[in-house]
């Protein structure tokens, strides 16, 4: 189980970057970045998980009941916000690029050829 979880994290991280490298569309590239980022969510939450423990919310639960690690969850929350913002920025850039060049293929828009 342990190996499986961490293998999935490594795989998702790499496949997201692979998708971005071969991407022919900036919007597609942005979504690939969300895939890469999702591996960090899985990693964080998987690290903090405890078998048989509940969520770190003690509303109807007696204090002192085993609960999973709350810190990683708060880190993941921040991470989710970060991902939205980056995607929004890249999409905005993609729209501008499209307006200038009628293309959103990163290979076609290169003006910086040296």
């Amino acid at each position: 189980m342990t190996i499986l979880v961490y293998a999935v994290v490594a795989w998702v991280f790499a496949i997201g970057i692979y998708g971005a490298i071969v991407s022919r569309n900036l919007i597609h590239l942005a979504l690939c970045l969300t895939v890469t980022q999702s591996s960090t969510y899985i990693l964080l939450l998987a690290i903090g998980y405890k078998h048989g423990a509940g969520a770190p919310i003690f509303e109807d639960v007696k204090l002192g009941t085993a609960a999973v690690d709350p810190v990683v969850q708060s880190l993941t929350l921040t991470d989710v916000v970060v991902s939205v913002t980056v995607i929004a920025l890249i999409l905005a850039l993609a729209l501008d690029v499209h307006r200038q060049s009628d293309s959103i293929d990163p290979d076609e828009i290169s003006t910086l050829n040296r």
């Binding site: 970045l33 060049s101 290979d107 828009i109 910086l112 040296r114």
Partner: protein, 605 residues
């Protein structure tokens, strides 16, 4: 002084938010004034913190969550002189840039000020934080505001592409950092750097620590523009407005380097102690490669901002090599280099803005000779160049002297030669460009230089003179950075404290005073070491020769020229082609580089 620590971060951020909230109400000039006032306040507080931290580390626990039995509950800011100095440099440049933009960006929207303020606050937070996840937050805030600023000129394709390359590569770098942080948390249950260091110090590094270290350092190297993670920098710089370049090159790149040092000394020094030479070799290698490739690419540019950008890459390589020596003296050298280079390069980029405003182009062949009517700008350009080459005893000279001494102690004496060559070649390119623009020397055409899309000048009615004054302030401060009395002793003392991991831990986790309040800092003048002076003069000679070659290479005998083209041509072409401007290529380089770094450490450590 503890109360002042959040202010260099919070004041600019609140000001940014207020500017947006009042965007429809307040006139533009009032908003600019608020922004400048906020940046000035932040700079003032950062300098205060710097002064206080000279005696002992200043700590601030957010929310009042002091450590519970040595276990950090909340987030801390920890100011030691190097961190506080970084923050002060970032805030100061932010202030200069805002003052500059008062004229330069006159017709632009207020969002420019907002993003500059957010970038400034983020840089200060990044320099001061003592918590690794908090570092990630500021890393992203820096990134997000900088990506948008890089794409500021949306009417052109070049800037957009530069911004996309910048955003995508740095985002992937950030994910690597985050993954490293998650691994560290899995091992140590801690996010505070001091605590991470304490837990990791219990036993030597294993695979997890090595992979975490590789991920974090790689992510930071993306931001610090180290080969082969550097591609974004030139694209982003070539296209951003000059004041944005000044901030990116003057402070943001250096912060990436700074945090590599921070994270190494606080967290990884103990577990990697046995492998210090392995870490050193890889990082020195990358630094040297960066310094040389940056210098070579710098030589091939004719667009001034791209030229300066490659010179930044080259200097970043020297900084990384200095940090990689893992020795306090070299660290002091790097600190001085960051200070002098930040001010000089910031000033030179601002000067590019002046050239663009006055001469309408920033391509050295297009404005050939046109700078004759701006002699003062030419003098500033020359001064900045001399500062960057380290003419004894000005500019980066002190930094290089310390670096050379540090290198010799570890058997890396040859680093001095590399440094002299790299800074000499970069300065040579700058001298060549300056001579073409301001003196009209040399040939009008130069087939060695890469053609670049030119930049559209901003409004016609902007006068360059007030802009030149701001640029001049930065350049003069940068020149003087070496000769401030006592600065050598102070940075060396500060670097020793920075590297004193156990005292740092005791200060953060147990509130022990770190630093020697009674330490006597003399105000002695800089002692110029003969060997370093010779290296400095040698670099200057290389610069002069490079510039002369650039200007008059057509007059060389054809046989020599063709022989040179045959031997040097192919490698240069390959390196040129690698800088393709295509984001997929850059990501491939990035993952290949990350793989190489991680694999070398995995196999050798």
């Amino acid at each position: 002084m503890s109360w002042a620590l959040p202010l260099p971060v919070v004041v600019p951020l609140i000001a940014a938010a207020v500017l947006v909230a009042t965007g429809a109400i307040l006139p533009r000039r009032v908003q600019d004034a608020i922004g400048i006032a906020a940046a000035a306040t932040a700079t003032g507080f950062a300098l205060l913190i710097l002064a206080a931290s000279e005696r002992h580390d200043v700590l601030h626990w957010f929310g009042g969550w002091h450590p519970h039995a040595g276990l950090a509950l909340g987030i801390s800011f920890t100011a030691d002189p190097l961190g506080a100095g970084m923050a002060a440099l970032a805030c100061g440049l932010d202030l200069l840039v805002l003052v500059y933009s008062w004229t330069y960006m006159r017709r632009q929207s207020q969002t420019f000020d907002v993003l500059i303020l957010a970038l400034g606050g983020a840089m200060a937070g990044f320099a001061l934080t003592g918590d690794i996840f908090n570092m990630f937050v500021w890393f992203e805030l820096m990134g997000v505001s900088a990506y948008a600023l890089a794409g500021f000129m949306v009417e052109e394709l070049g800037p957009l592409q530069g911004a996309i390359n910048f955003a995508v590569t740095n985002t992937v770098g950030a994910y690597m950092v985050l993954m490293g942080i998650a691994l560290l948390y899995a091992r140590t249950d801690a996010l505070n750097l001091a605590q991470i260091g304490r837990v990791l110090g219990h036993r030597p590094a294993d695979r997890l620590v090595i992979v975490a270290f590789a991920l974090i350092v790689t992510g930071l190297m993306v931001r610090a523009a180290i080969v082969p993670f550097h591609f974004w920098l030139a694209d982003a710089h070539a296209a951003s407005p000059a004041p944005v370049c000044a901030l990116l090159s003057g402070a943001m790149v250096e912060l990436g380097i700074f945090f590599i040092a921070r994270v190494y000394w606080t967290a990884f020094a103990a577990p990697l102690h046995a492998h210090a030479s392995g870490v050193r070799d890889v990082l020195v290698g990358l630094g040297v490669a960066t310094a040389l490739i940056g210098a070579l690419m710098c030589l091939l540019q004719r667009q001034l901002k791209r030229l300066l950008a490659y010179s930044t890459i080259s200097q970043a390589g020297t900084m990384l090599a200095g940090i990689a020596l893992l020795d306090p003296r070299s660290l002091a050298g790097v600190a001085n280099l960051v200070l002098a280079h930040g001010l000089l390069k910031g000033g030179l980029f601002l000067l590019c803005g002046v050239i663009l405003v006055e001469l309408r182009h920033i391509d050295e062949l297009r404005v050939y000779g046109a700078g004759r009517r701006l002699p003062w700008a030419g003098v500033l350009w020359l001064l900045g160049t001399l500062g960057l080459v380290g003419l004894p005893p000005l500019g980066v000279f002190l930094a290089q002297q310390l670096l050379y001494e540090g290198g010799r102690e570890h058997g890396f004496g040859w680093l001095a030669v590399v440094g002299a060559v790299a800074s000499g070649v970069c300065a040579g390119a700058m001298l060549r460009a300056g001579a073409r623009i301001f003196l009209g020397w040399g040939a009008r055409e130069d087939e060695l230089l890469s053609p670049e899309p030119d930049e559209h000048a901003p409004e016609r009615d902007v006068s360059g003179r007030p802009l030149g004054i701001v640029a001049g302030i930065a350049i003069v401060l940068g020149l003087a950075a070496s000769v401030v009395p006592g600065i050598e002793a102070r940075t060396e003392l500060a670097a020793e404290r920075f590297a004193d991991t156990s005292a740092y831990r005791a200060a953060v986790l147990h509130g022990a005073a770190h630093g020697d309040a009674a330490a006597h800092v003399s105000f002695s003048l800089l002692g110029v070491d003969t060997a370093s002076a010779l290296y400095g003069l040698g670099a200057l000679a290389i610069a002069a020769a490079t510039a002369a070659f650039g200007l008059w290479h057509r007059r060389l005998p054809p046989r020599i020229l063709s022989a040179g083209a045959r031997t040097l041509g192919p490698p240069v072409t390959v390196i040129r082609l690698a800088h393709s401007g295509i984001v997929g290529d850059y990501l491939l380089w990035l993952s290949g580089g990350a793989l190489a770094v991680a694999a070398i450490w995995a196999l050798t450590l």
